[in-house]
């Protein structure tokens, strides 16, 4: 029984078939989804996290079907994501962003908030400390009270990661986590991801364009092109797959790259 599986996922937008009968499964560890621009990678993430409802197919996480659930319900079940075009709460501080990420885990009602009793204060203090700890872990320990919009680009990506982690997910979906980072920053982030997988038994699915990152960090790689899965396997298998090379380089490129 896998942690996460998708079978036969199809998504159409008018006449365009963005995803066609895509199967995907993750037992544990880090899986990468790669493919040229417009291949349907982000659409697949949007289907996984409830932003889109698939026209056909099934998405399962642990014992639950995710199809038809709202994004916040999916987050509450333990699947959280980041966005390709960083979507932080810009006017809020770094730590407030992380605190919002904890929303699904806060067990307090309106009366607790209005009465502000010891229970509320206990939960709130704990949340602030946990949020501080998460920011520490992603390397933003000194920017707790900086508004998100004032953070440099790489830090914003790290903050988005911390915010997603705050919901205590068992599966994390990262949409181009190293985009805009320097090589050193990207390597550092990959180390962090490896650590998270080891510490929290966290499953991670990455969309990534940086092939060095993909090859180094992922256990499995899935390749999408024009909404279809064209290859799947270990990084090494995928790297030498002629269909993959063709998708990236075109037919002539594939011919010259073939041994």
């Amino acid at each position: 029984m896998s942690l996460f599986s998708a079978t036969g996922v199809t998504k159409r937008f008018g006449g365009l078939t963005a995803l066609k009968d895509v199967d995907f499964a993750l037992e544990s560890g880090i899986a990468a989804i790669i493919g040229p621009n417009g291949a349907g990678k982000t659409t697949l993430f949007n289907v996984f996290t409830g932003l889109y409802t698939p026209d056909a197919g099934e998405v399962r996480f642990a014992d639950h079907s995710l199809v038809g659930l709202r994004p916040d319900e999916i987050t509450a079940l333990g699947v959280c994501r980041t966005f390709q075009n960083i979507r932080l709460f810009k006017a809020m501080t770094a730590i407030e962003n992380v605190l919002v990420g904890m929303h699904a885990r806060v067990r307090l009602g309106l009366w607790d908030v209005l009465a502000r009793g010891p229970r509320f204060r206990g939960v709130e203090d704990e949340a602030w400390r946990a949020a501080g700890g998460l920011l520490e872990r992603v390397g933003l320990g000194r920017q707790l009270h900086t508004e998100a919009r004032h953070l440099p680009y790489g830090d914003q990506r790290r903050l988005e990661l911390a915010r997603a982690l705050a919901s205590r997910p068992r599966l994390l979906l990262l949409d181009e986590p190293t985009a805009g980072m320097t090589g050193a920053e990207a390597r550092q982030l990959m180390g962090l991801l490896r650590g998270l997988v080891a510490d929290f038994q966290l499953g991670i699915i990455l969309i990534e364009h940086n092939m060095r990152v993909v090859m180094e960090v992922s256990d499995r790689v899935t390749v999408l092109d024009h909404g279809e899965k064209i290859a799947e396997g270990t990084p090494r298998e995928v790297q030498t797959n002629p269909r993959v090379i063709e998708a990236y380089l075109g037919r002539r490129g594939a011919a010259s790259a073939a041994p």
């Binding site: 916040d72 919002v100 204060r121 203090d125 400390r129 949020a131």
Partner: protein, 411 residues
């Protein structure tokens, strides 16, 4: 000097005394009362220990203000109006400032609260139930909560159909909703006479006043108490996961939902909370005015409250209170006083640059400048200080891992 406690504390004291004496010696002077208000603002902003600030504000609002009211009861009326609008601004601040849901029909909830008490606190309800009304004046206190509940319910009912709307579209729908409530109030005099239509409802019962306090003073204290409660509730909501969820929705709705914020519940809660404050004040307003009709709840009132929130600073609690004060005092006092003064000049036959004011055409009468000057102030504010007079400050707190320091304070 406002940042130096050694200067600020004596300065606050001096300002309070001077302004108090000024009002006492010239009860009709607008400037004296403005000085008193400035003293209160100064105390709020000046650097001093919280208990001293509380003591100063307590003296100013609980002791000096009622005494000023004894000299000139109109000032007490202004202070009460400021309080009513402060509560409205604080309610709208939740919806617009925190949750970012632009509501142009907010006064509808005020109307709902007002009509709730007006109908049952006057003989009007006899038209519906046959007899037995008005309710005894003591019911007023129960109806504060009834007004809260009815307005909150109305807020949810408005919220449900507009959940998927943002920005401009939401603004138009709420604007329409505000008009619907007013038009309903105007026309629900048949087939069953609920609201008595444009004629309005009167006399609306006033609550029994303890210790024989004059009603103006009682009304002032009641409004002050409600505003204090509203501020506390507002602060607690804002500084909790609920308030953070609202702000997250304002910043990026889609990301907020992806982070686990249930949009429907959070938005409906924002509408309900905002509406409930207006509902409470509606009940108080109906009793204070004794007479209400649909004209008290026009679109312009909604815009006025929105102007208070934006002028004070979106999402800022002190901003909402200050905005309510500035707009109310401008409208009731400063601009009125200004046009009266111009009128006096005109009647006295003053000549400016060889042009006698008395021969001004009626289209240019001073009273007509009031709205224009108010508009110019809004325009200038938005150009030069778009974040508002007292913009919202981000909450910070020290986070320590050690157990002793868990009781950290919000600064």
């Amino acid at each position: 000097m406002i940042r130096q406690p050694l200067v600020a504390i004596p300065a606050s004291l001096a300002l309070l005394i001077v302004s108090g004496l000024a009002v006492a010696s010239a009860p009709r002077s607008i400037l004296a009362f403005l000085l008193f208000q400035a003293a209160i603002l100064f105390i709020y902003l000046a650097a001093m220990p919280w208990w001293l600030r509380g003591a100063f504000l307590g003296v100013a609002l609980l002791v000096m203000m009622p005494i000023i009211g004894a000299y000139n009861v109109y000032y007490l009326e202004i202070a009460t109006q400021v309080g009513i609008f402060a509560a409205l601004a604080l309610g709208l601040n939740i919806v617009v400032g925190l949750a970012g849901l632009l509501d142009l029909g907010y006064v509808a909830f005020f109307a709902v609260g007002a009509y709730t008490w007006a109908i049952f606190g006057s003989p009007q309800a006899n038209q519906i139930f046959g007899g037995g009304f008005p309710l005894a004046p003591g019911w007023f206190y129960v109806f504060i909560f009834v007004g809260l509940a009815v307005a909150a319910l109305t807020g949810v009912l408005l919220g449900l159909p507009v959940l998927r709307l943002h920005g401009d579209y939401l603004a138009i729908v709420t604007l329409g909703f505000g008009e619907v409530i007013r038009v309903l109030a105007n026309n629900l005099d048949k087939p069953i006479n609920l609201t008595n239509g444009p004629k309005g409802i009167t006399p609306i019962g006033r609550p029994p006043v303890p210790f024989g306090i004059p009603y103006a003073e009682f009304s002032y204290f009641l409004v002050l108490l409600i505003v204090l409660i509203v501020i506390v509730v507002n602060r607690r909501l804002e500084d909790s996961h609920i308030g953070r969820a609202w702000e997250a929705i304002r910043e990026d709705e889609l990301a907020a939902q992806a982070m686990g914020v249930p949009l429907v519940r959070a938005k409906l809660l924002a509408f309900a909370c905002g509406a409930s404050f207006a509902g409470i004040m509606g009940v108080v307003f109906a009793a204070k005015q004794v007479f209400i009709n649909p004209e008290s709840f026009t679109f312009l009132e909604s815009i006025g409250v929105l102007a208070m929130v934006i002028l004070g600073g979106m999402g800022s609690i002190p901003g909402a209170v200050l905005g309510a004060t500035v707009v109310t005092v401008l409208n009731l006092q400063v601009l009125k006083g200004f046009s009266l003064w111009l009128n006096e000049l005109k009647n006295a036959g003053v000549v400016i640059l060889g042009y006698p004011l008395a021969s001004l055409p009626t289209q240019l009468e001073p009273a007509k400048y009031e709205r224009m000057i108010f508009g110019i102030i809004l325009v200038l504010m938005m150009i030069f200080r778009p974040q508002g007079i007292l913009p919202a400050r981000r909450r910070q707190r020290e986070i320590e891992v050690t157990a002793e320091e868990q009781k950290s304070v919000t600064t």
